[in-house]
Amino acid sequence: MQINQFLDQFKRSLGVMKKDIRIYYLKGPVVIFGFLMPLFLFLAFFIGSRDLPMDFLISGLISMTVFFTATAVSPVIAPWEAQVQTLERLISAPISITTLIFGDMLASFIFGIIIPILPIALGLAVGVNILQPIILILGIFLAAACFSSFGLILSSPPSNAPSNVMMISSLVRFPLVFLSGIFIPIEKMPYWGKIIASFSPLTYFTDLTRYSINGANYYPIQVDLIVIIFFTILFFFLAAQLHKRTIYKRI
């Protein structure tokens, strides 16, 4: 009975996912915010400091791409639906808020694992080798789920103006990129920098990507994986709980 109900809600979350993909993801901003923006950051650093090795930069580009893609659209879905008045219809359906959030997360996850093919291809094209493809794929899957859930936390304040949420999420996302060892390797950070970096899930994913590409890692790989899994579960439950509180305020 419990299991059936669970499977049933899971199937319904696929309906939510399909809707999100059709409406929000196949429209361009994902590619722009998810891949082009990291690419520009990457180029800026590539031109700015020629002494950073290519494999270091490419692994940074991959982790930025997963991060930005997975958080590109998920923060605006809830405010957007409230604004165009489709949300009331949606929550009158027999789906739990967790199901709804899970569906949003899945849509974001799918793009979070597909778009990184672009930077990986770019890396291969410029002659970067991938030493641990399995670890890289596993890492991308986990990180996509983790960052998608993170994006949904950003959408939980009950503001119905997508532009507000966009602003908040940019304010959170950009600093994280600079604190997570993407452009400055963790080992070169000052002590306080290392402490801050250790609170960012992006740090562990970047570490994992770097290990998969050139074998250099700062934390043990098991630690990277466990921490990302831990953040994924934490973020998802936090997002679901927060939306349970705030979603009614959007109506």
Partner: protein, 307 residues
């Protein structure tokens, strides 16, 4: 299960405002139940609490035997909702919107397709099924929203002003569909500002004012409770001074409506006599003379104190 809706002390507050104030009522299976009230009376707020869209602050609502607060998913599975302000997804086609709703209700694909086909056909949208909703007119959108609300073949349907802003044909179509429901043992909970519609459609109506239920009964019975609102409609062959007409005996209130006068009275017989006297004295011919029962609208105005 006799009562498909049971409401006890249902209350909702927004800050200092009590939008819905300890209301109680029941709706029987197979009824068309009208929920009437002026703007801001608390109709939409009540409907949202009954459909699990917002949480009540106090009290309880039982929908199809399930407590809507505690067993929301079970209750929602068998109800249909047409919210007051709601849209279909404009970037999806009518068909995709229908399929999305079916998925959210866990309806098997084949059943969903058959049902979507017959619903869209019934509401004359089938030929536009693959068009994006973006290009639909207001009436088409509203009809689609009704289709979407019926995709799970609900046994209880909530509609918040489903016909507001629609043309005569769309209104009639929707009304016809709703009228078929009781035969199938289905129940309708409907809010509307259209008294004529409520009068023709509803088995019972509740009138809510400032969050409280002012009256709840069958429309004809409600009309009888406000007896003093009997009136006579009269017209003469020439124009008449309203002032002098209003001074004849047995008139409580006089209103001019076009070329007719509506005279309210508590003594119909006495008023007819004084009207014929008035006509004789002034050399007027009476063209029409009708006694009228109070309309639901007049009952409504009386009970809600709306001008």
């Amino acid at each position: 299960m006799k009562h498909v809706i049971q409401v006890q002390n249902l209350t909702k507050r927004y800050g200092k405002l009590t939008a819905v104030d300890h209301i109680n009522f029941e709706v029987e299976k197979g009824e068309i139940f009208g929920f009437l009230g002026p703007n801001g009376a608390g109709k939409t707020t009540t409907l949202r609490m009954l459909t699990g869209i917002i949480q009540a602050d106090e009290g309880a609502a039982n929908i199809l035997g399930f407590n809507i607060q505690k067993e929301a998913l079970k209750a929602k599975q068998n109800i249909g909702v047409v919210p007051e302000t709601s849209n279909a997804y404009v970037d999806l086609s009518a068909w995709q919107n229908m399929m999305l709703m079916s998925e959210l209700y866990g309806i098997p694909r084949k059943v969903a397709e058959d049902r979507a086909e017959s619903l869209l056909d019934r509401l004359s949208l089938y030929h536009r099924r693959d068009d994006k909703v973006k290009g639909f007119s207001k009436g088409m959108k509203q009809r689609l929203i009704l289709c979407m609300a019926l995709v799970n073949d609900p046994i209880l349907v909530f509609l918040d002003e489903p016909t507001s802003g629609l043309d005569v044909a769309s209104r009639q179509l929707i009304r016809e569909i709703l009228q078929e429901f009781p035969e199938q043992g289905k129940t309708i909970f409907l809010t509307t500002h259209n008294m004529n519609e409520a009068n023709r459609l509803c088995d019972r109506v509740a009138i809510i004012n400032q969050g409280k239920i002012a009256a709840i009964d069958r429309p004809e019975k409600l009309k009888n409770t406000v007896k003093k609102l009997k009136s006579i409609e009269v017209s003469f062959d020439r124009s008449v001074n309203t002032q002098s007409l209003s001074e004849i005996s047995h008139i409580k209130e006089l209103k001019k409506e076009g070329d007719k006068f509506i005279a309210y009275t508590d003594n119909v017989n006495g008023l007819i006599h004084s009207l014929t006297n008035f006509a004789g004295l002034n050399g007027l011919k009476i063209v029409t003379l009708n006694t009228r029962d109070p309309s639901l609208e007049e009952v409504f105005v009386e009970l809600t104190g709306e001008a």
